[in-house]
Amino acid sequence: MSASTLIAILTAGLTNGAVYALATIGLSLVWGSLGMLNMAHGALLTLGGYAAYTVVTTYGLPAPVGFVGGIAAGALAGAILYGAVVKHLLKQPSETFETNVLIATVGIGIALENTILLVYGGQPFRQPTSMDGLLRIGVTSVPVQDIVIILVSLLMMGVVGWILARTRMGRAIRATAQNREAAQLMGVPIRRVYLQVLMLAGALAGICGVLVSSITQLSPSLGGDPMLKAFIMCVIAGLGNLPGAVASAFGLALIEAFVQFGAGARWGFPVLLLIVILVLIWRPTGLFGRAAIRRL
């Protein structure tokens, strides 16, 4: 294997890993703090991608504004998801909540995806919120957009980590995740915490949607593949475990990239699924998971 091939595989793996990691932390954050498997997460990704497209193409604004538009659309959708649906389902006991919110978000995801199909049509678009050009690395060169994706993703993970570890809001989110009743007794308004978590996850989905569409293309089913991969990462890491989710996302994306190079592109996904099956057999709570512990 030549150096340039190795760099190409590593770039592909790390770029995909960055996208998977972003999709995964959004999903994992919501599960960890609400016990909610957000099946509409993929549709929020798609929404963010199209929002950035509209801001740049229809309103003629520069790409960074489009990027902010994608984030804002995701956060807003997260807030609406909370206010219109989740808030009401939370009044139910937790066992029925977990099932009902899963089914409700499946429906919301389908509705949102079809709304996008209705508004924009099914033909794919190029995402204008991206950077062109190649960056020379030693003997080869890699697309600048790939580097941007990796850096933005790392930055966002840093921001999420900082919010959770260092801010009052983050401490309240972790407290609510670890013991909802105790958090209430300490004066934490848990409804506001849930709203904040869904907005944060929505914003992450928006960013992820812009990034993933910049290396593929915009289509109404854009969010499906990253969300599926995010579920795989969550299962392997243990749901709700953020550092584990990030490690799994990069690790598995690299494995996928090497398998695709070595055995052909069609083997990438089956190998990921095989790993999931093996993990579920030997470590049902995930590689980094602990039984029945949600941790944030």
Binding site: R168, R171, A172, R174, A175, Q178, N179, E181, A182, A183, Q184, L185, M186, G187, V188, P189, I190, I293, R295, L296
Partner: protein, 239 residues
């Protein structure tokens, strides 16, 4: 004289789905007093404290904190008004350090200087916690966890402290230490409502004892009097 009363419950009825757990319970905690509710397990002691802090829905009656009604408010609002509830089994935040757990107690307080003051006070009263400051709560011993639970309650700086079975699941020697802390809190002038299964532990401490049986108060009076009434102890507490 309502201004000398920290907490007043008047004829409260409450419960979960289904029949009421508590019926027509009235009691009051004067400022600086330690009032104890004793009774067999499963007869509503924990529900009583949870009703005060808003975790269990109040169906009837009044709850007044320093003369103002807190009935029907959300738990986080009640906590911010000054009810510090140290729950049964501690309910710590297991993945947080001792210090982070304590800081969560002061969540409703925004002034950094006040939070630092309270933290210093907790470390003076519970010096063990200062040693364990950076340790993750889930790795502490049972006695240490109880101290974090009480310390977290103190961090809330409440007007009244509710403590639910501080002796639960601890070795006798540790229980003694915990009660020394509680005596120290009473001496510092705090108003405390304490729930306990065994009245013998609070004889020297409580200003008054209420006996809760089957969701209703069946006897109230000074602790020494309860200990002298063998028939009450035998009937309700199996002593």
């Amino acid at each position: 004289m309502p201004e000398t009363l920290a907490l007043v419950l008047t004829g409260i009825t409450s419960g979960y789905a289904g029949p009421a757990v508590l019926t027509d319970v009235s009691l009051s905690v004067g400022r600086g007093q330690l009032i104890t509710v004793v009774g067999p397990n499963g007869h509503g002691k924990t529900t009583l404290l949870k009703t005060i802090s808003g975790l269990v829905r109040l169906r009837g009656g009044r709850i007044d904190l320093e003369g103002k009604s807190i009935a029907g408010l959300a738990p986080d609002v009640i906590a911010a008004r000054g009810v510090a509830h140290v729950p049964q089994g501690d309910l710590l935040f297991p993945q947080m350090s001792v210090e982070e757990n304590l800081l969560m107690g002061a969540y409703a307080e925004r002034a950094k200087s006040v939070i630092a003051e309270r933290l210093d006070e907790v470390f003076v009263r519970l010096p063990k916690l200062a040693e364990r400051r950076k340790q993750i709560a889930s790795t502490l011993s049972g006695g240490e966890r109880r101290m974090v639970g009480i310390g977290r309650g103190l961090m809330m700086g409440g007007r009244v402290l509710l403590i639910d079975e501080p002796s639960l699941g601890l070795a006798p020697l540790i229980i003694e230490q915990i009660y020394l802390v509680i005596a120290d809190l009473k001496a510092s002038g705090r108003s405390i409502l304490l729930v306990e299964e065994n009245p013998a532990r609070v004889v020297d401490l409580a200003d008054s004892i209420h006996l809760l049986d089957n969701g209703a108060i069946v006897w109230s009076g000074p602790p020494a009097e309860l200990m002298a009434r063998d028939e009450l102890l035998a009937t309700y507490l199996g002593g």
